[in-house]
Each structure stands twice: as structure tokens, then as C-alpha cells.
């Protein structure tokens, strides 16, 4: 699903493809994750979680993300808090070096699990 932001002339800035695999939400995100799209991404992920009570884990594939800042990190943290309340985990896959560095500096990699591939993450999520 493509998301746009702005009124009148729109700016294409984020893409989210979400699918549920068993008890895991697989979210492939692309674009620049900043203040302009943080609310949209948050709402879209929460909609998936709200719509399927069986989701226990989230695998977030960031391969297509070429920028993230603290607004985007806040979305990841919020979803982690939500999932971990029920004993679930968040798995991170495919972060580009500049994006991974920001995530690592934030400390999120200490509470989320980084995996080498989507298949690895889905396997670990069970």
C-alpha cells in the first residue's frame, strides 16, 4: 500500500506492504521514515494488529528504507511496547547501513532481534 502526505500536491514518501503469516505480522517498509509519515505508518501497523488478535510477533523489513530519524524510531518503539506486552518479539531485517546505524545508536537493537533475512526472522518468530 502506498501512502502519501500533504494537501493538494502530494508527496510520495512511504510504502508499506503488510501480510500476516501465522502469528507473525510481516511488514515491508520503504521510503523515508520521518515526522511526515510516522503517524501514517503507526496507524497502518496498528490497524493490522487490531485486525488480527492472533499476531504475536512483528518482522519489520527495512530494506527499502533509505532514511529514518527519531520519529521513525518512535514508531518502532511503540510497536515493540505493544507486542512485548503479550510476550511477543520484534525482528528487524534488511536495514541499510545508514539506517541500521541510527537504529543501533538508539538502543533499539538491544531490545529487538536483528536477523540476516526475512526467512530467518520468520523462522525465529515461529
Amino acid at each position: 500500500m502506498l501512502f502519501t502526505s500533504g494537501k493538494g500536491d502530494v508527496y510520495l514518501i512511504m510504502d508499506l506492504h503488510a501480510e500476516v503469516k501465522g502469528a507473525t505480522l510481516l511488514a515491508r517498509v520503504a521510503g523515508e521514515i520521518d515526522l511526515a509519515v510516522a503517524d501514517t505508518l503507526r496507524s497502518a501497523l496498528d490497524r493490522e494488529l487490531d485486525g488480527n488478535a492472533g499476531i504475536r510477533h512483528i518482522v519489520i523489513n527495512l530494506y527499502g528504507v533509505n532514511y529514518i530519524d527519531s520519529s521513525g524510531l518512535g514508531v518502532l518503539l511503540g510497536r515493540y511496547k505493544r507486542i512485548s506486552r503479550n510476550g511477543g518479539s520484534v525482528f528487524i531485517v534488511g536495514a541499510q547501513p545508514q539506517v541500521r546505524r541510527i537504529i543501533e545508536m538508539s538502543g533499539l537493537l538491544r531490545i529487538m532481534q536483528e536477523c540476516s533475512s526475512e526467512a530467518d526472522a520468520l523462522n525465529r518468530a515461529g
Partner: protein, 148 residues
């Protein structure tokens, strides 16, 4: 320090202008011989400052003005992000990591600004606004234009 170049942008406090500000700052900064990694860091620092101005300075009101000024002084980039919003009561506290009370925010904005700048100065008065000044020196001399 000798002023080499200067630019000033004024834009509305719209979230979509965060990307505009960081891209503009990155393009301006590229006049110095920063590495791509340096430029990415500069863009994050500017994004965080502008995000703070919009969210905290103006309480996400979209009709206010944020100003970004960038200067190249010899081999140093000076970035100033200003708002005329509500200001910060306790700057020292705001500079602490994870100072945000919002569970959806990490409170790392100033931490990234500090990490990606050589110096960070925050001038703020409650009710009058906030001015964030960041400097970053380019460790490599800029390449002179071909033919000179």
C-alpha cells in the same frame, strides 16, 4: 571565521517540510567536502531540530514559521534552526537522552544533534522560542573547481 556562503529558508511548520529542510541543508553542506556519511548525519541533525520546532515549539500547529539558516565559514558548516514557539523551560533537562514523556517518541532528538555536530548550542526562552545552533567542521579541504 571567514564567511564563504550563506542561505536562509523560511517554511511553514508542516511535517512534510522536515524532509525539505534536511535535503536543502544536505545540498548546501555538500559545497564542503563532507563524506556521504557526514552528509547523512547532517541531514539527521537538521531533521531532529526541525521536528522539535514543529512538535515541541509549535505543538504541531501547521501555520507557524520555522527558519533554517546555513553558513559555510571557511571549512565549517553552521546550521541554525529557529522557531518562535513556546520555548523550553529547562534546556539542560531537555538535552538529556530519553527525556520525552510521549511513549511513541524516544527523546533522542537532541542526542542525535549532539552526536552529529561538533558543537550544539540551544538558546531558548519560555514563550519566546528556541534557536538551535550546530556546527560541523569538514576535516577535508574542499576540492577547488576544475581549471583553477
Amino acid at each position: 571565521m571567514e564567511l564563504v556562503n550563506r542561505m536562509k529558508l523560511e517554511f511553514l511548520s508542516l511535517p512534510s517540510n522536515v524532509a525539505f529542510a534536511r535535503v536543502a541543508a544536505g545540498a548546501f553542506a555538500s559545497q564542503l567536502d563532507f563524506t556521504l556519511n557526514d552528509l547523512e548525519e547532517i541531514k539527521v541533525a537538521v531533521s531532529e531540530a526541525v521536528t522539535n520546532a514543529i512538535i515541541h515549539g509549535y505543538g504541531s500547529r501547521p501555520d507557524k514559521t520555522v527558519t533554517l539558516t546555513a553558513e559555510i565559514r571557511k571549512d565549517t558548516l553552521v546550521l541554525v534552526v529557529e522557531d518562535l514557539g513556546k520555548g523550553i523551560e529547562d534546556v539542560e533537562k531537555a538535552l538529556q537522552p530519553a527525556s520525552s514523556t510521549d511513549p511513541e517518541r524516544m527523546g533522542l532528538g537532541f542526542s542525535f544533534m549532539q552526536s552529529f555536530s561538533d558543537s550544539l548550542v540551544v538558546d531558548s526562552r519560555p514563550g519566546a522560542g528556541t534557536r538551535v545552533t550546530m556546527t560541523r567542521t569538514c576535516s577535508r579541504e574542499a576540492n577547488p573547481p576544475a581549471g583553477l
